[in-house]
């Protein structure tokens, strides 16, 4: 169990890793994640299940190097190596329903987690419009897979090297202003992106959910470290979430809590350090 079966570099510092994890693959649903501990001295870190194959008993992760543990995992673990601990599936699965038109917004590393959700919504008969974005063309991941499960795929890059120049919120806003019928929006990506998606859809009263990536320790509801402030009460992202009504989430608190160990870990942030996902 927990053996790495495939590893591929998708873009600088982002790897697709397929792991043998039959218990997780047997059971997981879109929107769920796992916790891994790669070796004895490593942290427990949460990673979303990007894809899974129940028959083969495998799950696929897309991992971005942002700090010690993810760097160690991406650099030092190769095909044939075993991850010490894999636990899951964790979290409450995405709400599955025929909503009508669903917009899936994935930013940066958030594209992989949104893929199985988009696929499942499509299978339920929803119309899928996907908007995926990255800073630059070579940082785009899984555009081909997203195209397969979307009725329409829109790509944005900050520097205009692929698709529309600008942010993922630009085409979303344009659609809303034009009066396009949108029934449900799901956003996964850097916190600042999810926050901006929420404020874009709020005036149009479109139900919007975001998948929150708070710092976790156990992932089972035991420590409360993952608590997020939603609708004036604390929720545990690992059990109650990770998806929450984005219009009710206190994103500023989430951003602040993600920096709790900044000094100790001299963190390099999600998108390489100088993008908008850290400082507003």
């Amino acid at each position: 169990m927990n053996k790495i079966l495939m590893k591929k570099e998708l873009s600088p510092q982002v790897f697709e890793i397929m792991v043998e994890a039959p218990l997780v693959a047997h059971k997981c649903k879109p929107g769920q994640f796992i916790m891994i501990r790669v070796d004895e001295s490593s942290e427990r870190i949460p990673l979303t299940i990007g894809d899974f194959d129940r028959e083969a008993g495998t799950i696929t992760l897309v991992v971005q190097e942002v700090g010690n543990t993810t760097r160690h995992f991406c650099q030092d673990f190769n095909v044939g190596d075993t991850i010490l601990d894999v636990v899951g599936p964790l979290g409450t699965p995405s709400e599955m329903s025929k909503f009508g038109t669903v917009v899936c917004v994935g930013g940066g590393i958030g594209v992989a987690p949104i893929y199985p959700i988009a696929r499942a919504y499509k299978a339920l008969g929803n119309k899928i419009i996907s908007i995926i974005g990255a800073r630059s063309k070579d940082l785009l991941t899984w555009a081909d897979k997203m195209a397969e499960v979307s009725d329409k795929l829109i790509i944005t890059t900050d520097d205009g090297t692929a698709g529309h120049k600008g942010f993922v919120t630009d085409p979303l806003k344009a659609m809303l202003e034009k009066g396009d019928k949108i029934d449900y929006v799901i956003a996964i990506g850097p916190v600042i992106m999810m926050k901006n998606v929420a404020s874009t859809t709020l005036p149009f009263h479109v139900h919007t959910v975001a998948s929150l990536n708070s710092i976790m320790v156990d992932g089972t509801g035991m420590c409360g470290g993952c608590r997020v402030f939603v609708g004036k009460e604390n929720k545990f992202a690992c059990v109650d979430g990770p998806e929450f009504d984005a219009h009710k989430v206190d994103f500023a608190n989430l951003m602040q809590r993600q920096k709790m160990y900044k000094n100790q870990e001299s963190v390099e942030y999600g998108c390489g350090g100088h993008c908008q996902c850290v400082e507003e």
Binding site: V87, G225, R227, Q256
Partner: protein, 463 residues
Amino acid sequence: MRGGMRNKMPEQPANIRNHNFQEVALGYDEKTAIDEAQRCLNCLKPRCVQGCPVNVSIPNFIHEITEQNFGAAIRVLKDKNSFPAICGRVCPQENQCEKNCILGIKGEPVAIGRLERFVADYARQNELDQMPTTETIAKKQKVAIVGSGPSSLSCAGDLAKLGYDVTIFEALHAPGGVLMYGIPQFRLPKEIVQHEIDQIKTLGVKIMPDVVIGRTFTIDELMQEEGFAAVYVATGAGLPHFMNIPGENLNGVYSANEFLTRVNLMKAYEFPKVATPVYIGKKAAIVGAGNVAMDAARTAKRLGAETVYVVYRRSEEEMPARKEEIGHAREEGIEFRLLNNPLEILGDENSWVKGMKCIKMELGEPDASGRRSPVAIAGSEYILDVDMVVMSIGQGPNPLIKMTTPHLETNKRGNIVADAVGQTSMPGVFAGGDIVTGAATVISAMGAGKKAAVAIDAYLKEK
């Protein structure tokens, strides 16, 4: 008759131990143990036994000590108590066996817990407590145990001895429950817990870590698809409570569970050698006054906090922690702010804790529980200068099993409803320990596991 004083427990000096994680209490040597054992009157109607939740045959094991029959002593202990090395260390003896000891009326009670610990340690070191291997016994039905705390371990051990094919499913990567992730090394060395777990394994019990019941498998799936004939649920009281006061989400505020898990389970005290960090302030406030709070306070001190306050809204008398631990904490320099209640945690411009607003309290009329309830003194607010806060005000049941097992009856607090032997509303599903009683003690959780093992055996024989 011997004098009224018990033998002292040798301890590491307070000003040394509050900088290390080695065990505080060092244990009796053989001579002291025999001397202490000789204090016992071997009463015909031993009151002490009634005070023990699992009714250990206290005079019998103590008598064996006086005869230097340590092998016999450990057998007497283990007949009722699966983990004497653990209970001898963490049982609230002063409220249980020792509280009832006849010698306590005029002088000091027999140091039953210390003797229990001595026997268990002696047996472990001299390999007197080897478990029989059960390979020859044909395996009966499969039983699943959910969680791996003391309740689960004792239930699993007893069922394995009866010949059942037992599998423990644990959500975390290490078995042991609170014994591993909660109670710190300096009070309960992890090697001792590991030894008990290894013993259970030699009985043929399989332990599957990294499996969350309710997620990886549901209880129904265990029984209908995975072939388990019965299930014992002992998932503990692991859900931390917060006060719901402003500022609890500031950086530098922990639940005791998170703080202790980072340190004990993830070994954050070795950061950066291990990858998990923990933040320690210069001045820490621990809110609450139970065993968990004492553990958090003493851990913060050991990790370098210069000042550690225990902030509690009632008075000394109502503090739920063991007297011995409160005394230890005091000796180690923990400051008690009793009759003080936090109102708000204050943050700096970067949303880090920079103080805690408290109000002073006084004791009013007794409430329903008979305890005098604290009342705020108007106008007594002040700001306690702290840069770290650990909320340690209690834990509730984790909702996962309840959420995923709709026909399992729970009460309004979310605890599983079970009868005296652990039978729940679902046939074949038993439960015990903190998930049934709410946060309690190691010994009561362990006792519930033993009772359930008997009930599960009876259920499966009838089936």
